[in-house]
């Protein structure tokens, strides 16, 4: 951690400032304060992004649905998130009498904690990261799983049947979609030869989105399931189980959940950018701006999907995970392994022309594998993927 932090501009300035004021005998204090300020910065960047995104999504969704969206608080309604936060803070904080108080109260904290912890390994720009873990991807998987545990805790502790439904659905989705998600991360590891997120970015001479489109597709799908985004938003499913695990939450605990959810989306966007879009790298603009733009692209995609697709039934979601995504991710991992075995030189490195070869073969693989798998899934599960509307209109009387 120390090495990575030492390169951080904020860290360096704060550290040197404190040293110049107090002298070098208080180096430990300078180290502590500088580290703390960097962590605070990263956390606040994430929180600000998340609150900004709540506004952006509502505005965008408004446009998608022929509405204006929030436009009253501040210019273009930009202060809407602030207004919401004030409203939520002034609401009564209700804990149901039969609830498991302790679990009920810490569930939102666990949820937010899991998102914040994920920020620890994600590079936000060139040389801007808290830690360069050599098992970064593994850490991400572990930490993001914690979020679903928080949902389970909230649903169980609320002592409400709708909440329990939501929690059980969350558990089912977690178990099913973690596997394709990990498989798609595995294919990134195969390509980059490392689990460190910094290494993953550095090894992307070509964006991995081009090299392995299947992994990107699987990642996006599995991620939207993990994030309870449409069309996999069964955990909250507002028309069916009221608000799912959130039913009994009010006030700022509810706000914390919502904030964590939006922050999780931002983190997912950052992970997607790092894994598939060359992270902070690109031309002309500073690296942090590129990172923001790529996260914004992911967020836009998420909002767009949300306004276009209805929700799947829980059993269909699970069928989709096990019978379609899982085999697809297996195929992808096997294909990438074989390609790497054949193409890598004696040091295990991939040259750029080899990468281009992989681009071609993987796109061909996607074009072939997806329709074939759809056909097989279709026959076995009876879910009509790819079946167009066929209707007979009879005339009466």
């Amino acid at each position: 951690m120390g090495e990575a932090l030492a390169e951080n501009i904020v860290y360096r300035h704060v550290y040197e400032f404190i040293l110049s004021v107090f002298g070098s005998e208080l180096a430990w204090l300078a180290y502590a304060i500088a580290t703390f300020s960097v962590v605070l910065l990263v956390v606040n960047v994430l929180m600000l992004l998340a609150t900004f995104y709540t506004w952006a999504e509502r505005r965008l969704l408004g446009r998608f649905t022929n509405r204006l969206g929030p436009n009253r608080a501040g210019p273009f309604g930009l202060l809407q998130a602030l207004a919401d936060a004030v409203k939520l803070l002034t609401k009564e904080d209700i804990v149901p009498r039969s609830a498991d108080r302790w679990v009920f109260n810490i569930a939102p904290i666990v949820m937010l904690g899991s998102v914040l912890m994920a920020m620890g390994v994600i590079p936000l720009g060139e040389k801007t990261f808290l830690a360069d873990l050599n098992i970064g991807l593994l850490y991400l998987v572990a930490v993001s799983g914690l979020g679903s545990i928080a949902v389970l805790m909230a649903g169980y502790a609320s002592a409400n049947k709708f909440s329990t439904f939501g929690a059980m659905r969350a558990a089912a989705v977690l178990i099913s979609y973690e596997i394709p998600l990990v498989m798609s991360l595995l294919s990134i590891t195969i390509l980059a030869g490392s689990m460190s997120l910094i290494e993953v970015v550095n090894s992307q001479t070509i964006p991995f989105l081009l090299v392995t489109p299947l992994a990107a597709f699987i990642f996006l799908t599995a991620m939207s399931a993990e994030l309870n985004r449409s069309p996999f938003d069964i955990t909250e499913g507002e028309s069916e189980i009221v608000a799912g695990y959130l039913t009994e939450y009010s006030g700022m605990k509810f706000g914390t959940f919502m904030l964590a959810e939006f922050a999780a989306l931002m983190v997912a966007g950052a992970v997607f950018a790092v894994l598939f879009l060359q992270g902070w790298k690109w031309a002309i603009l500073p690296s942090h701006i590129w990172m923001l733009l790529k996260v914004g692209l992911f967020a836009l995609l998420a909002t767009w999907v949300r306004s276009t697709l209805p929700r799947l039934r829980p059993d269909q979601i699970l069928t989709f995970a096990w019978k379609f995504l899982f085999p697809l991710s297996l195929i992808n991992v096997i294909a990438l392994s074989v390609q790497r075995l054949l193409l890598a030189d004696e040091f295990g490195n991939l040259q750029q022309q080899d990468m281009w070869l992989m681009v071609v073969s993987n796109w061909i693989l996607m074009v072939v594998a997806v329709p074939v798998l759809i056909k097989i899934t279709n026959r076995k599960s009876g879910i009509p993927f790819g079946e167009s509307a066929k209707f007979h209109v009879g005339k009466g009387v």
């Binding site: 697709l309 079946e387 007979h392």
Partner: protein, 368 residues
């Protein structure tokens, strides 16, 4: 080792986002599967039938507005038709045409609400589908405002005709609507009916066979979705329906998808009817000169109409006084709920909400 499980009873409603008002279901769940379901109604009971007995015939029209509050026009129509039969008066031609136009506009509006909420219950679209539907409904309500000054509780139809002739600005607005609506309907169809998720969610779910539907005396789009070509507008024409040509839409499946596909196609037919009325309407009086206060000779009358949700009729019994002796409302929504249990048991939690939406019932009409 097998895990010990037991069924759990969940009260869905009366306060629930998708129970169309204050409908309550007491559902026994085995996991997500529905084992048993019991409807509990009466939360919106206002005693309309009894209230009608206390009022003069012409005063009851405002009560009918509040029955099915997303289709007030057709409620008015059913009531005044029964009254007209009771006192045996003829409505002028222009009045008939205006009534038909208003009723068909109301059908479009009601079907849009039905389809919109059905899709909202399918979950998400982030509200897109619902807002698309409501955008067009809004224009219809604007036209109602031109006709009678009210948007929801219209009281537009009167015994012997309609409240007043349509104002000048109504006709260009109607023309514009007729020209633009087919495009919007296409847009909606592209968003919804070509969506694989919608089809996967709704096809072959909660199937009602034709025999079942007839046995339960279902009417309207639900009956036609099961393949029975029964439409009162065609079978026993009232108002100007004998002057217009239209198709009775049926589908064969009887599942959730068919039920709302039939509604979307009926919107098309309604536009066709309005188009013909717009073409054929001639100037003249819109209302026969009948006193507001009348005493029909003792007798009874029942004129069924094809309301957006099915057969709606007011069975009026007169004892020769100024108020009806009895006013029995045959409301389609209430009867649509007959097959409730057969439709829902055995399906999943996510399905029963959608199946309920496909019935497109309205609690104002169920409880009366």
């Amino acid at each position: 080792m097998s895990l010990h499980t037991e069924p759990v009873v969940v009260n869905i409603g009366p306060h629930h986002p998708s129970t169309h008002g204050v409908f309550r279901m007491r559902v026994t769940f085995d996991g997500e599967n529905v084992q048993d379901v019991e409807p509990v109604i009466g939360y919106l009971h206002r005693g309309t039938e009894k209230l009608a007995e206390e009022r003069q015939y012409s005063q009851v029209i405002t009560l009918t507005d509040r029955l099915d509050y997303v289709a007030s026009m057709t409620n008015n129509q059913a009531y005044v038709l029964s009254c007209e039969k009771l006192i045996d008066i003829e409505v002028p031609d222009r009045g008939k045409y205006l009534r038909t136009i208003a009723a068909e506009l109301q059908r479009v509006a009601s079907h849009l609400v039905g389809v919109g909420f059905f899709l909202a219950e399918l979950g998400g679209f982030g509200g897109t589908a619902l807002m698309y539907c409501f955008r067009e409904r809004e224009r219809i309500l604007d036209m109602f405002e031109m006709l009678c000054g009210a948007r929801i509780t219209v009281s537009f139809m009167r015994i012997g005709g309609v409240f007043q002739d349509a104002p000048e600005e109504f006709w260009p607005a109607l023309r514009k609507f007729l020209d633009e609506m087919p495009g919007y309907a296409d847009e909606l169809n592209k968003l919804i009916f070509e969506s694989e998720i919608v089809q996967a969610r709704t096809k072959n779910v909660s199937v009602i066979s034709a025999d079942q539907a007839i046995d339960a005396s279902l009417t309207g789009p639900i009956l036609r979705a099961s393949g029975v070509p029964w439409d009162i507008r065609a079978a026993q024409p009232y108002d100007a329906y004998d002057q217009v040509k239209f198709d009775v839409i049926t589908a064969q499946g009887g599942d959730n998808f068919d039920r709302f596909w039939v509604r979307m196609l009926e919107v098309e037919q309604s536009l066709k009817i309005i188009e013909q009325c717009y073409r054929d309407i001639r100037s003249g009086p819109v209302r026969s000169t009948t006193s507001l206060l009348f005493r029909p000779s003792p007798g009874e009358a029942y004129v069924p109409i094809e309301a957006p949700k099915g057969e709606l009729g007011f069975y009026l019994v007169s004892d020769g006084s100024i108020a009806p002796y009895r006013c029995k409302i045959r409301s389609p929504s209430f009867i649509s709920l007959t097959l409730f249990k057969e439709m829902l048991v055995g399906w999943k939690l996510a399905d029963i909400i959608v199946s309920l939406g496909s019935l497109d019932f309205n609690m104002g009409e169920v409880d009366r």
